[in-house]
Symmetry: C2
Subunit: 203 residues, 2 copies
């Protein structure tokens, strides 16, 4: 089935965003935790967290300044501190609810069963229920001219993991803690049909 750019443009809004959010393949499922300078916490689901490098360890994610996740962005810019917390099967519904448009003075931690957790004097709250928690420090950002979004880059400063996932060679088997992936805007998938391949050389 062939869908042209003109047909994409002509789709109704909801149809278009469902389709366009599905075509990149599976997306990471994470909660980003922050706290404003005045102490209001915020936690929000993100599907755009992506690896930029291992040495130094850098992750990026995308924010659209005009949406609810602006709270996350503002807190990061104020404090330099945020957490990235993997969404596991047990907290999918709670995590997804953080996409509701709450105003800045309301903490999603108060509106869900997600629990803020503070460790080792890190400023931003971790999500206690998450099996894979990252303490992040803001590095730099890029304004994306093409569609008025911002790529935020940060470096990993602390890593908390359930040891069940950790292999001898550093690989984390995400399925051991039922970590989810996101399909489209609103679907969560927990993988189990697992295949690990070897380093490839020319043949």
């Amino acid at each position: 089935m062939h869908i042209t750019r003109e047909e994409i443009e002509a789709f109704p809004h909801l149809y278009k965003i469902n389709l366009m959010n599905s075509i990149s393949g599976y997306k990471s499922a994470n909660l980003i935790g922050t706290k404003s300078n005045t102490g209001t916490t915020n936690v929000a689901v993100f599907s755009s967290v992506v690896h930029y490098g291992s040495n130094p360890p850098i992750l990026g994610f995308v924010v659209r300044p005009t949406t609810v996740v602006r709270n996350t962005y503002n807190n990061i810019k104020e404090t330099g501190s945020y957490t990235i917390n993997a969404i596991s099967k047990d907290i999918i519904e709670e995590a997804h609810h953080t996409s509701a448009k709450y105003s800045a003075e309301i903490s999603e931690f108060d509106k869900t069963n997600l629990t803020p957790e503070y460790k080792n004097n890190f400023y931003a709250p971790f999500v206690k229920e998450s099996p894979l928690q990252l303490g992040m420090k803001y590095l730099e950002e890029y304004y994306i001219k093409a569609n008025d979004t911002i790529l935020v880059l940060g470096e990993v400063v602390d890593l908390y993991i359930e040891e069940t996932m950790l292999s001898e060679d550093g690989f984390l088997n995400l399925s051991k803690e039922n970590i989810a992936a996101i399909n489209g805007l609103d679907s969560y998938v927990v993988g189990n049909d697992f295949k690990r391949l070897s380093y490839q050389r020319p043949k």
Copy 2:
């Protein structure tokens, strides 16, 4: 288990890249197809394709200029044309083999069972075996100072999908065509435990 930044830095290279490539959660599994001005094709696996926007439809991916995927980047800069092709269960091994470091004059299409497919006068080759193929046009790029990588943004100009995946509201159910996600550097997961949630409003 707590791992500090200092411990991350001190890990052996392979351990560090396995761990740092696992912590962002599941990644999209795509093959990017290109063709140079002189007609040499290239196809390479990427795990960094991510949604930037629906209106206009924009996807981004990350290249590290010093690695093998430089061929992909050079071809895109030369021609403005590339394809993004989802990796399904049947072609995981072939797709993963494209990560081997072939020189620019060798086409990975000749070294795997992946088949180049040309449609509707689009310059870059699609991967015939993929159930979800995107024709992409280069838009702009951002040099990432933090670790010498490049974010490449492109817009979707053509979309080819197996209709089995398409829902009434535009959502594509990736599991219907056994599309894979990537965990870490070298693990491919096919999801099936599927849960779709509703649009969330404040409660």
